[in-house]
């Protein structure tokens, strides 16, 4: 490849506008014409599914909803699939948010999975405590006693009036704590305040971008597993039999990644081509 060709490739593939336009096209095209790329179930997702499946029917589960509206697309499909599996087993869930955007994303979660929540009774089958300020201190306090930390739930109901919260109060009352978070610190807090002192089983639901930072906890068996981004969501949706955003986005994800690979390859060809030519000269 001569220098002129390299310069042309550099100019074409170095165009920011072209990259954005092609990305938008790659993103939207599969929704107009689905590619139908098969989704296989990974052993890690299967392991999480089997663990939740092995829980006793009617068990108590704690779920931290710690993400912003922007991160909804990656985390909510995982949370919805998990809620379906848990509700199918008649498990009772206590939802909490240690982040200010929690009440918004929880209301969006309820509207997305209205079919799941409408079959269950608020206060008996599930409860949302709302935003609890204090971050790690709040996580530690909730582990010790929910009643001692908050007096009312997100909707202003007194804790004593909610039947579910008469059955559970502390970390050891829960069979599983699910942490769906868009931040790395949250996982640290729960490993430090829930797993280490009380040995509560933790399940992580993380964004793809932060999964490598949280992986050491899973590798050290401080969590029973981790669901990562839309890919895990698609797999879990297949397993629980409820199609959602995870599966819908897989074709688009694949095509967009293929396009980025092409751009990275072209960038490397230009870089090495120019470097070799300059060295020869």
């Amino acid at each position: 490849m001569n220098m002129d060709t390299l310069a042309l490739v550099d100019k074409v593939f170095g165009s920011k506008i072209l990259l954005y336009i092609l990305l938008i096209a790659a993103l939207i095209y599969p929704f107009a014409s689905p590619l139908g790329i098969p989704v296989s179930i990974s052993s890690r997702t299967m392991q999480v599914y089997n663990y939740v499946k092995s829980l006793k029917p009617g068990c108590y589960v704690y779920m931290e909803i710690y993400y912003e509206v922007a991160a909804r697309g990656e985390l909510e499909p995982n949370v919805v699939a998990l809620v379906k599996q848990l509700f199918d087993k008649d498990c009772k869930i206590v939802f909490v948010s240690l982040i200010g955007t929690g009440p918004i994303v929880f209301s969006l979660l309820r509207s997305t999975a209205a079919d799941l929540f409408n079959t269950k009774k608020y206060g008996v089958d599930y409860v949302y405590l709302g935003y609890v300020s204090g971050q790690e201190a709040a996580a530690a306090s909730l582990a010790k006693s929910i009643k001692g930390t908050v007096s009312v739930d997100n909707y202003g109901n007194r804790i004593e009036t909610l039947p579910l919260l008469r059955e559970v109060d502390k970390a050891t009352d829960f069979s599983l704590a699910i942490i769906a978070s868009s931040g790395t610190d949250t996982f640290n807090w729960y490993v430090r305040q829930w797993y280490t002192p009380y040995n509560v089983s933790l399940l992580f639901v993380a964004l793809s971008v932060i999964a490598p930072s949280v992986e050491p906890f899973v590798g050290a068996k401080q969590a029973i597993g981790m669901l990562v981004g839309q890919r895990s969501a698609a797999e879990y949706e297949l397993l629980v039999g409820r199609k959602g955003l995870g599966l819908a986005s897989m074709d688009s994800q694949s095509l967009t990644h293929a396009l980025i690979l092409v751009f990275i390859a072209a960038g490397n060809v230009v870089y090495w081509g120019k470097r070799l030519r300059t060295k020869k000269k």
């Binding site: 506008i17 697309g73 990656e74 200010g100 490993v191 971008v209 688009s252």
Partner: protein, 249 residues
Amino acid sequence: MVSWELFGAWIGAFLIIWIYSFAFKDNVLYKLAEHIFVGTAAGYSVALALDSLNRVAIKSLLAQPAASWHYLIPVILGVLMFLKYSRRYYWVARYGIALNVAIGTALAVRTIPMANIVRQLQAAIVPLWGSDPLKVFNNWLTFLITMGGLTYFLFTIFPKKPETGKVSATYTVYKVLYLIGVYGMMIGFGALFANTIMTRVGFVISVYLIYLQPYMEATVIAVILATIAILIEIRRRSRSKCMTLRRMS
């Protein structure tokens, strides 16, 4: 009839497109969307903080004053934090901050050695021989990259290359581990970058599926408006460039 829900969805679609329009060029609609976002987020945060204070402390204090009197202590310390705006009594604000930092540190420190050091060390100790070749290979990778990563961050004591003569075995081992550490971290950063792309693409896909695709008319109108705003911005910039050139000549 237009419902509030539909109106909100249209506003949502408009703001999303206008925010993304920054990727092409800064423009007036991007700035409008940005200011709306910052204002709304600030207002929401203040309202949420007050609601949290009301739900956790005020309601409890009013309902059961005898059992909840201890909530008064953090409330008073929190109010005292506002004294940092006073030139005379700014130092009083430090009590609240000091207590906050002390409790946070104490809570974290009691479990950090076990959660973040001992368990991670235990997980890094893996069998290097066994019947499953893939597992053995993975374990060797874990072992070598962990050692390599730690070697890379040795800043105080490390063998130096002799200026003349043969290099020592210690130096060779150090150098090999150092290189393994460098390449291990590079692979790690590569994986991190790939995951970053996946997350960002995931965000865009979900935004498209949830907020844009169901309201295609709003999306198209927002795109047209953003294109006009970008063109106006380009024209404004070229004009101001011409003016500057004229003034200079």
